[in-house]
Symmetry: C2
Amino acid sequence: MAQQHILDLHGRFRKRRMRMTRPRRTIVDILGRTKLHLSAEEIFSRVRKQCPSIGFTTVYRTLDVLEDMGVVVKHHFGDGRGRYELADNPQKPEHHHHLVCTRCRRIIDYDDFVEEEVGFVRKLERQLSKKHVFTITGHVIQFHGVCRSCGDAA
Amino acid sequence: MAQQHILDLHGRFRKRRMRMTRPRRTIVDILGRTKLHLSAEEIFSRVRKQCPSIGFTTVYRTLDVLEDMGVVVKHHFGDGRGRYELADNPQKPEHHHHLVCTRCRRIIDYDDFVEEEVGFVRKLERQLSKKHVFTITGHVIQFHGVCRSCGDAA
DNA sequence: TTCCTTGCAAAATATTTGCACACCT
DNA sequence: AGGTGTGCAAATATTTTGCAAGGAA
């Protein structure tokens, strides 16, 4: 819950003339308590445990809103459904690059070589942006393959 | 059609105990004639112009097979549908990194700074692979933002 | 009290599967 | 002939929308 104060959700919602409601609080809370990248369905099932009256639709709508506000980040890892994480999760580094296991679908957030990588990406963005007259607002960097457990099992 | 000989589809299918059929030929042909990243539906609609009897299901099944064979690459650009391109398209460089316009959904294949980028990615892959005991088989690198036309219009 | 939010049911999208028939080799 | 490939319809899976009722400020 503490993080909710840090995030100042209430204030951020108010600025948008939006209300702080139980579903919204619950969803942010759940995202703040996991290191995983949850799908809407996974979030829904956890939400129901805390508050069975909340519907699936609300989960989707809330995630959209939170994404819009920059509170959550939505990812696509190639399994056909969106996955969400808190943009600023106290449990994770602020580096949204991933290793994606194509067997078990596990996602590993890596935080190695971040500085080199960030430096490289920034430079590349500057160059591409200029050359293609393209305003870059974000990027996706993923490495796909087989994780240790799946590799061992093989 | 010429490329079909280059690709030696017939032989590659035979090796898998699979047959060279009209739908398969047609779909590869269509992918070989465009620089775009077509969705299954877009491919289907082009297929029908050449051969109206081919069904949607066949398009999906064929694309799966071709992906499996390494003839086509499937991409996800965040709009909820898969998009396909020939892995070795004579019309495009062999570099599957993209700029994705979040307004008009246009995809720009860039081929600038490829050498630096490939070098960097290889190095990163080696390091990550070792550190996380993860066998890397591929990667996704995309930059999202607003393309020139959409930016001008704004 | 205002009007933002929500839940439910239904719709919209995207993709997959079962099955009988058609077609390569 | 024999097994692979295909079309159609139906099933899945995921996400979105209409609308009346509920709830935060």
